[in-house]
């Protein structure tokens, strides 16, 4: 219990004094996670819409694989990305290992199936509602996907936020591909792991509370920014 109070008070102190290291790793956490979120959403949301609208061979298999990949073990993703980006790997020449870019790649791989699966689920229901109307209007597949993506944007926001939640709390993969290098690839989660291993539980808890606060703040901010309907008016 004492550690918890110490953690809370230290978190408060770090925030009030705007500790330089804290600001740096917090901003890096946000940069890596939001970059991964944007890239993953650009891939996963249209994929979810495509799976809702199009009927093609292997569609069911694709959905099943995506659903299965929602539980992808991050350390395995980290290991695979590590091998691909390591000097002897196929992308080794790009020199991306132990950079924030490598961390973004790993996070994208982890959250694309999650966002795509949730998006597909939401858009499939919307497609059931819209199917006859959009077919009747003689729309193209692209127009149908656009309509679903636009009109289902609130459900898609939830899908993206689920991806954000998974990415911001991710530690295994980014520890492997990022290396937790001070002033280079250290983020909140890897810093928490480091402080815990050093036995400084109060600081680890303080960083943990800040991480939770950050996740909540970003969720609120995105909800507020994308609130398009107010009192039944658009």
């Amino acid at each position: 219990m004492g550690d918890l109070w110490d953690g809370l008070s230290q978190a408060f102190f770090l925030l009030v004094t705007l500790d330089g290291d804290l600001v740096e790793i917090t901003l890096r956490s946000l940069q890596v996670t939001l970059s991964a979120l944007v890239i993953a959403s650009v891939i996963a949301l249209p994929l979810g819409a495509l799976l809702a609208v199009r009927r093609f061979r292997l569609r069911r298999v694709t959905i099943a694989v995506l659903n299965a990949l929602m539980g992808l073990p991050p350390v395995v993703v980290g290991l695979i990305v590590y091998i691909l980006l390591s000097r002897s790997g196929p992308f080794g020449v790009m020199g991306l290992l132990f950079t924030p870019t490598a961390m973004i790649i790993a996070q994208v791989i982890i959250i694309v199936p999650l966002i795509a699966s949730i998006a597909h689920q939401a858009l499939r229901e919307l497609w059931t509602e819209y199917h006859d109307l959009l077919i009747s209007m003689n729309t193209t597949h692209v127009q149908r996907m656009k309509a679903l993506l636009w009109d289902g944007r609130r459900a898609l926001l939830t899908a993206s936020l689920a991806g954000f939640g998974r990415a911001i709390g991710e530690v295994g993969a980014i520890m492997i591909v990022g290396g937790n290098i001070d002033h280079a690839t250290r983020v909140l989660t890897t810093a928490i792991a480091l402080e815990t291993s050093k036995g400084d539980f109060a600081l680890a808890l303080a960083l943990g509370f800040i991480l939770i606060g950050l996740a909540i703040a970003v969720n609120f901010a995105i909800h507020w920014l994308t609130q398009t309907e107010r009192e039944g008016r658009w």
Partner: protein
């Protein structure tokens, strides 16, 4: 004069999971008038309209418009029994059919304002379509269908859930569309509405056309005992 007609239907059958929903149907429709499809529940009214419009799979026979199929699809619209509202504003619901046809935003909005005036929703343009009442939704669905000035408008029981006032408003919009040259093909359960709107009646029973004729003749002097019983309000199966 419409280039879409005559519409020729020959031996057309639609099935679902092996069960015949409607057919075989043989029919020839000309460019003028209001065709009203009537019949008891399960007679195949909705399936017939969907088959003619091309949103129900045709398992046998053919549905042949006078123009080519792509052009025919562009020139028709469908209003469903339960209006489907895009999760957007009334304005965006009205502009959507125009925008997907390549009409510019400004022109589409001008057209939407004109249509909103016609259907009595000009005060609701900025409101969410989901916030409209049942009658308003049906009027919006009609306006959205009419905004591209279709040559043929299919309506599946468009007033099924409406009260008297909303029904009168919808009928006024339909009559104006028909006078403007839009060919109406609709189903209804409401015999009063059928009498008010129809120039031709198609009576369906068991998925087939049981009787067909000019509205006046059909209502005053139906040929078959089943049609007579149906008009009397008896249960017909």
């Amino acid at each position: 004069m419409s280039r879409m007609f005559p519409l020729i239907v020959e031996g057309a059958v639609t099935r679902r999971r092996g069960k015949v929903l409607v057919g075989p149907v043989d029919l020839r429709l000309e460019a003028r008038g209001v065709t009203v499809v009537i019949g008891p529940n399960g007679a195949g009214k909705t399936s017939l309209l969907r088959m003619l419009h091309g949103i129900a799979r045709l398992n046998e026979g053919r549905v042949q418009w006078a123009c080519d199929e792509a052009e025919a699809r562009e020139r028709q619209a469908f209003v469903f029994q339960t209006p489907v509202m895009l999760r957007r504003s009334v304005r965006e619901n009205l502009t959507y059919p125009l925008r997907i046809s390549g009409v510019g935003r400004k022109a589409a909005e001008v057209a939407a304002e004109g249509m909103a005036d016609k259907i009595g929703l000009s005060g609701a343009l900025g409101r969410s379509a989901l916030a409209l009442s049942g009658g308003e939704r049906q009027k919006l669905a009609l306006g959205r269908a009419l905004i591209r000035e279709p040559e043929v408008l299919f309506l599946d029981e468009p007033c099924a859930a409406l009260d008297g006032r909303a029904m009168r408003e919808v009928e006024a919009i339909l009559l104006a569309a028909a006078e403007g040259g839009t060919r109406l093909i609709m189903s209804t359960h409401n015999m009063g509405q059928a009498r008010r709107l129809a120039s031709e009646v198609v009576f369906l029973l068991g998925g087939r056309i049981h009787e067909r004729g000019a509205a006046e003749t059909f209502f005053d002097n139906p040929e078959t005992p089943q049609a007579r019983a149906f008009l009397r309000g008896d249960i017909v199966e």
